[in-house]
């Protein structure tokens, strides 16, 4: 599991981005979104998606001219101490996200599938599976994610299609929700939701080139945003803003609402398979990116020895919050504040540094790392 590979192409990059940015579909954040944006909740992913991708493309513009991955580029433009600081920020992003995902998926497993399971066993289960996957490596992880991606997309689409008889189109009214300005502000505020997109420039050395990163981001992130919009539209059309804001697990509630005949009902348990697969992949991936950053920052020859300690510490962190409510509140706060630093502010800061230094006369940067 060396990080100097450069073996992954567009499909693998696309799958990685999709898996990290698609995972919120199975989480509880949408009840907050629908609470704030009401009938216009579906616009929120569109707004923050457009903003994030614009900032990301600006960062790629810089990376085309300053060779290297995100940490290299930061080092060349801002100096090594700042690059280390940026690395630490992204490490914190991904590592905290891994711990929160671990906790949320463990809690959701208790809520939806195995109510009698001991909470710590659920945490241990998810962290062990993630550790096993990490041991196998990032390349197989990305390829596995690419294979399951169509299944996940089909699953979400199938649920939305099966819910068609329960659609009440008036639930989308008023189409502007609480007002376009409020929706816009809320949409921008939760851009931190998409910080996972930044894993592509971070893992730059494992991907072919900038074109690979660009297309992987456009396809993977684009599909993820589309799925979020589809899911939110379906959710709003079925439950509306009133009932929707009270649902703890929106996608789970959607699957529970599916009823087409006596023989196709209560399919939510079948979606547990999908649920677990997405959860395990997202946890493993966020953990990988965080230990990769540590490896890159300290020039470690291999990452494998870090897998078990990093997973154990993440599991311990995941068990710190006293209950799921505090976890959800913490996650919401991180999305609206802290994650924006990684998703928006740091890329803009790097771009600003690039333009300032270019204006100062520096036209070329050394290649390599």
């Amino acid at each position: 599991m060396s990080y100097q590979s450069g073996k992954m192409g567009i499909s693998e990059g696309m799958a990685l981005v999709f898996m990290v940015t698609f995972v919120p579909v199975f989480q509880s954040i949408w009840s907050i979104t629908i609470d704030r944006a009401e009938g216009a909740a579906w616009m929120i992913p569109v707004i923050n998606g457009i903003l994030t991708i614009c900032v990301f493309l600006l960062l790629l513009y810089v990376m085309e001219r300053v060779p290297g991955d995100l940490i290299d580029v930061s080092g060349k433009l801002l100096g090594r101490p700042v690059a280390m600081l940026i690395g630490l920020v992204y490490f914190a992003h991904f590592y905290i996200e891994a711990a929160l995902l671990l906790r949320e998926f463990a809690e959701n497993t208790l809520l939806t599938a195995l109510p009698y399971l001991e909470f710590s066993v659920a945490i241990l289960f998810y962290s062990s599976v993630a550790a096993v996957i990490l041991y196998i490596g990032i390349e197989p992880l990305a390829r596995g994610a690419y294979i399951v991606m169509p299944v996940l997309v089909s699953g979400v689409l199938m649920v939305v299609i099966f819910l068609y008889p329960k659609f009440i189109f008036l639930q989308l009214a008023p189409w502007q929700g609480p007002g376009l300005t409020v929706v816009l502000i809320n949409g921008v505020q939760v851009s931190g939701f998409n910080f996972g997109l930044l894993l592509l420039p971070i893992l730059g050395r494992s991907l072919h080139d900038i074109a690979t990163i660009r297309y992987a981001a456009l396809y993977g992130f684009g599909l993820s945003i589309l799925m979020r919009v589809v899911m939110l539209l379906g959710f709003t059309l079925v439950f509306g803003a009133g009932a929707g804001r009270e649902k703890m697990l929106p996608f789970f509630e959607m699957t529970r609402a599916v009823y087409t005949s006596r023989y196709l009902q209560r399919i939510e348990s079948l979606f547990i398979l999908m649920w677990v697969i997405v959860g395990v992949l997202a946890i493993a991936l966020t953990l990988y990116v965080s230990i990769y950053i540590i490896g890159r920052m300290f020039d470690l020859p291999t990452l494998r020895p870090l897998v078990i300690p990093a997973t154990l510490v993440a599991a311990q962190i995941a068990m710190l919050p006293p209950d799921i409510t505090s976890v959800l509140l913490l996650h919401a706060n991180l999305i609206t504040a802290w994650y924006n630093i990684g998703a928006i502010i740091i890329p803009l800061f790097i771009a600003a540094a690039f333009f300032v230094r270019r204006k100062g006369g520096k036209k070329t940067w050394p290649s390599g790392c």
């Binding site: 992954m8 192409g9 567009i10 499909s11 693998e12 497993t109 599938a113 195995l114 399971l117 289960f125 599976v129 096993v132 996957i133 196998i136 490596g137 390349e139 197989p140 992880l141 390829r143 596995g144 690419y146 294979i147 399951v148 006596r262 023989y263 009902q265 209560r266 399919i267 939510e268 348990s269 079948l270 547990i272 398979l273 999908m274 649920w275 677990v276 697969i277 395990v280 992949l281």
Partner: protein
Amino acid sequence: MRQNGFSQLYTKLKDILLYKTPTEPHRFVLGEGQDDTWEKSSSSPAALVEKQEQALTELRSFAQRLAAFMEETKNTIEAGNWKPEVQIKYEKFAKEFAQLSPIGLAYDNSQEDPLKLTVKLRLSENEEMLTRIYNLPDNKDVVIRKFVLPSQPETTAMAVFLEGLSDKKLINLIVLAPLMLLPREGMAEQGKGVIETFINTYIPGNQVKLAATFEEIAIGINGGDTAVFVDGTEQALIIETKGWEHRSVGRPEIEPSVRGSQVAFSETMRVNTGLIRSLMRTSDLTTEMLTVGKQSKTPCAIMYIKSIANPKLVAEVKRRVNGISADYVADTGILEQFIDDHPNIPMPVILSTERPDRVVPHISEGRVAILLEGSPFALVVPFSFISLFHSIDDYAFKPIPGSFMRLLRLVGFMLAAILPSLYLAISYFHQEAIPTDLVLAIAAARERVPFPAIAEILMMELSFELIREAGTRIPGMLGSTIGIVGAIIIGQAAVAANIVSPIMVVIVAVTGLASFTITDYRLSFGVRLARFGYLLLSATLGLVCVGAGIIVSLILVCSMKSFGVPYLVPVAPKVTPGFDVVIRGPVYSQENRPDEINPLEPKRQLNVSRRWLKHRKDGK
């Protein structure tokens, strides 16, 4: 007197605790010892003395014969009766003298392995060497036939072959008869070039070659050829006389086909290479011969099309085969484990087939076939997971039925792997997913079964495995009959005895049936093992654990490679797919060879391969 209980106990304890002299003779124990060698070690003083003694004996024998020859020559010259035979004898002695030079003797004595030595001029020395190599006279397989060549002067010779491996009639016809009946005049004229004369004039065998070392000679003899040694020559003739008993080409037993060819490989490698060549009649088809096994020296053929196969791939195949350091490689199954990228994962990463018509398309795509003497299977590398769902019938049918069969096999594969665990997980943890009527029916059927579902399913699965294994081991027609009868009887009896519920029988039967759709037996085995793993997972945490098991298995398979090519190609990693992955396109649309193998010639056929359509448009 009958002992009471206390006395019996006391006697038994005494027997256990106290040492008694064994009544039986000393039993053989194969332990490690100092004398575990057939011969004295070559470095021991005794062995060195023995070698020096041998050298001295050789020198003394040579000196005695030389003295006799000089005496004879003196008499001949004094009598004024000069003969050309004297000149021939002189040249022979001169050569022998050169062999007995101090350097030559020192080299011969330093060699522990007689196979490394060169052929001697004297027949008796060669015979002694063969005695050492073949452990004669203990070894009764080796036949040494001495005879006299009717030359002037008369020359002794010997033919050496292995009983059972060589064709005796052929030896009589092309070795002994021509040599023993050859005209004297011709021999007398040739003198020095006697071996060349044999090859060019007398021996009618189609493959005759010269061998100078005993290693070459042993390879020839062990391969069924006959070695002919002639006194006074430093080379031996290896005449092809292979003729061991073997099975003729038969019908495919493991991979039957509805519309494909009905020819299967046999145990004779040369027949197998011939079968492949008969289907691919191009001069570009190259067969390289390697040897596997330090003791067995089993011939191994590497077949590829030189203008298509990637040279790096061919080099890697040869590197791996040549890199095997084992005494005996009996079968392609064993060879496969030696060259496999993942020998510990029970998933096949190398195609093993008994059908020549399955090997040829792969060779034509740029893959490499490996054949082994004595094995009726060919290996093809590199290989992908998706190709395991391909069958020769897919190509014999039109695209839609061909694709349908493949999809069916893929569904069968998935059912065989996870159907029992899905049932178990749903019935244990997620009953709400089953329609109400069905769940009531299942509950009613299980009401009288005293075991938990996991015990039921494990019992049935194990019974099924036992029936399958027994069906394979029972000879002939009885196997399948007992398999079917056993399954029906056990299923019915188990339900009647309330050991298992009818739904469980249905689940296990469907799973078993699904597993038979898998074309590759090794994959089927891997799936069976995985099924047990998933069963245990589903009994632990239901679908949550099954989901985790599926994703870990998938990622593990994604990490596998077959000779440097990712196993799940062309899906993951995604490469330019041909029109022949799961859905098979029309044969005339499959213009390109698989991208992942990087063939030298990527195009398989013209973009418009049905050129008659073009002609019709032109009005011709």
